[in-house]
């Protein structure tokens, strides 16, 4: 039986954890809340909407109790998604893996899906909002922002969205480590929903995301069950997974990417899998394009330059990330410092890896010129938005998928190998 190589909740290197926790979670939350806020406050005037877009936690500016309630609901949603999920608790996972638990039985610590107690919690929060509605509209800040009384149901919807957004974001984060297709599906659905700028698509999007999250959780739990069977085999077979149990001493072998020392990290005979497969690079490119489109939808014709700025930023980020990743293992004279020192800014044999960055720069120049030519001061056409999204998607695709791949570059680049493991390996979780 195949032993699934996962045991810990987050096997990714430390930097990935930081990246995911620091960028992905807030950005997904931001998108969800921005979408729901923009959609629910659609009937208010332009200045208030613009403020709401720039500051999705617009409710924080409302009476303090409402802001506190929203933050509390976000925390509750996040807690609900990870507190009972074995994939976020390695001790719980370990215990479950050697217990006779099967996916047909309920999880001992509690369900990971939404239950009636969660609905009760939200109902109480909504009741509180409904009851305190008068307090809200009577404040000066509220009057200035909305210039009219916001219906109580919209505020309740916002509160429910805060809880759901946090719940789905944490689920999505877990899937990024374990089940990437599910994570991409969730982000894609939400970006599509946000692009429509009304409540119904957002509600449908959230429901769909919830469905994907539950299916994803079920798949992961089934894998856990299979790994459970793996542990019933003689211990040596479990080494494939990464755990050896011998008597009372437990030795942990490192997982898919062993954190071994120099020179084994850099001269390892284990073939590097491509860091990003073609399908994954394409998916990320499509998602980046969707994200840019979702932002562009909210740009009015008066701020056309913002569209260029947003798409240029997307392209710059894509090109820079490739540059940094491919340059990270370089030592002088290949490194930036070495080039500055020797005055050899172009090293053709090595620099062919950066061809996509040059291509992105050329594409950017063409795109900028085309935008200038088709600029209309009175209207921002759908075509321009789509073109900006396509441009960014293309740049991300080029940066992620164009050859040479990182693993090939590491193997064949005519450069000195830097023991990158010296910095990284010791921080990787076992």
């Amino acid at each position: 039986m195949k032993f699934f190589p996962f045991r810990r909740t987050l096997p990714a290197p430390f930097l990935w954890k930081l990246l995911l926790a620091g960028l992905l979670l807030p950005s997904l939350l931001w998108f969800l809340l921005m979408g729901i806020t923009a959609a629910t406050l659609r009937d208010v005037d332009a200045s208030a909407r613009l403020y709401a877009l720039a500051m999705p936690f617009v409710t924080i500016c409302l009476p303090s109790w409402y802001g506190v309630l929203t933050i509390w609901l976000i925390a509750a949603g996040g807690y609900r998604a990870c507190a009972f999920d074995p994939f976020w608790r390695s001790d719980y996972f370990d215990w479950l893996a050697i217990s006779p638990w099967t996916p047909r039985k309920p999880l001992p610590k509690g369900p990971t899906h939404i239950v009636w107690q969660d609905a009760l919690l939200l109902a109480v929060a909504c009741l509180a909002i409904w009851g305190g509605h008068h307090v809200f509209v009577s404040t000066e800040v509220g009057r200035h922002m909305l210039r009219q009384n916001a219906p109580a149901w919209k505020l309740c919807l916002n509160a429910v969205a805060a809880f759901s957004a946090a719940y789905l974001s944490v689920k999505c984060l877990a899937f990024f480590c374990r089940l990437r297709p599910a994570a991409y599906a969730m982000v894609g659905i939400m970006l599509l929903a946000v692009s429509f700028e009304s409540v119904l698509p957002l509600a449908v999007g959230m429901l769909l995301c919830y469905g994907v999250a539950q299916v994803g959780t079920w798949i992961l739990l089934r894998r856990l069950y299979r790994s459970n069977h793996g542990l019933l085999h003689p211990p040596l077979e479990c080494i494939l997974g990464d755990v050896i149990r011998r008597g009372d001493s437990r030795v942990t072998l490192l997982g898919e990417r062993p954190a071994v020392a120099w020179p084994h990290t850099m001269l390892s005979p284990v073939e590097d899998k491509p860091n990003i497969a073609l399908w994954e690079g394409t998916t990320l490119a499509v998602l980046a394009g969707l994200a840019i489109y979702a932002i562009c939808v909210r740009i009015s014709y008066a701020e056309q330059d913002l569209l260029v700025l947003v798409s240029a930023m997307g392209a710059i980020v894509a090109g820079t990330v490739r540059l940094i990743v491919y340059m990270s293992a370089a030592l002088p004279p290949i490194s930036l410092f070495g080039r500055a020192l020797t005055g050899r800014w172009i090293i053709p044999r090595y620099d062919k890896a950066f061809a996509p960055c040059i291509l992105i720069a050329i594409l950017g120049a063409i795109m900028f010129r085309a935008f200038e030519m088709t600029k209309d001061p009175y209207e921002l056409s759908q075509l321009q938005r789509v073109c900006a999204a396509l441009f960014v998607a293309l740049c991300v695709w080029l940066a992620l998928n164009m050859k040479p791949t990182l693993s090939r570059h590491k193997l064949l680049a005519p450069a000195r190998r830097q023991p990158f493991g010296r910095r990284m390996a010791d921080t990787r979780p076992i």
């Binding site: 001269l267 020797t342 680049a413």
Partner: protein
């Protein structure tokens, strides 16, 4: 077999290896000797694949380094490299380190566990095996690093000054015997950089003397001694070949001191 052809390696504008050619036969133990700063470590780094030379090619068992992904991976599977100052994951235990290295190179997991146990016993590390490497002494760290290289079951070993770094006499004796054993195997090729001529004489089939970034002499220890007339041992022979003025300088210095 290891074959180096026209290897040229610069650090910045400073040439280290100049048009170096060297061939090591399969099953041979070659000791690389030479004064400090002449390129011994650089040569070993080039063979190991840490450095990509500006010119020339490295061929190991008829596969050229960095010529293709397949060739590079095949070479990596058969080569184990122990640098002069190997880095170790300080927060991991010695046992974890050995198991992790072994699992990279060896398919048979049973063999990995059994081999790591034997190596830990051999180097007297059984008691510290489950402690973090950071708590080890310098000699123990060197032992773990050597054990890590031996865990690989490679057929080409490249050792850069393995006898330095605080190894105790027992550790030196064990390593000498291990290398002797490896040298006797026909399928294992070893390249060893060392400054200790006794070790080179005891272990090496041939010795390569490096001078000014090139191989100036490759021969058996006995022939090297025979070449240098008046040399009593290998140390004298190597010294008089690589640095003929050294003895004269020493005599001058001592004479001046006495005056």
């Amino acid at each position: 077999m290891i074959q180096l052809t026209s290897i040229t390696q610069h650090y910045g504008v400073r040439p280290i290896l100049r048009n170096l050619n060297l061939q090591v036969a399969k099953g041979e133990l070659l000791a690389v000797m030479g004064p400090n700063g002449t390129g011994k470590s650089t040569l070993l780094n080039v063979i190991a694949g840490v450095l990509s030379p500006q010119k020339g090619e490295v061929r190991i068992n008829n596969l050229v380094r960095r010529s293709s992904v397949e060739a590079e991976n095949s070479i990596r599977r058969m080569v184990a490299f122990l640098p002069d100052h190997p880095w170790l994951p300080m927060s991991r235990t010695g046992r974890e380190y050995l198991l992790a290295v072994g699992s990279l190179y060896v398919e048979d997991k049973d063999r990995v566990i059994e081999h790591s146990e034997r190596l830990l016993r051999l180097f007297n590390l059984s008691e510290q095996a489950d402690s973090a490497i950071t708590s080890y002494s310098n000699g123990q760290k060197k032992k773990v690093a050597v054990a890590g290289a031996l865990m690989t079951d490679a057929t080409v070993f490249i050792f850069d000054e393995p006898f330095t770094g605080g190894l105790d006499p027992a550790g030196v004796a064990v390593l000498k015997r291990l290398l002797k054993r490896l040298a006797e195997r026909e399928d294992v090729t070893v390249v060893l950089a060392t400054q200790i001529s006794d070790i080179a004489r005891a272990l090496a089939n041939r010795i390569a003397l490096i001078k000014d970034g090139a191989v100036s002499l490759v021969d058996t220890p006995a022939n090297i001694i025979a070449r240098q007339q008046g040399a009593a041992n290998l140390e004298d022979a190597v010294e008089s070949y690589l640095n003929p003025e050294a003895l004269a300088k020493l005599e001058d210095y001592l004479r001046e001191e006495e005056q």
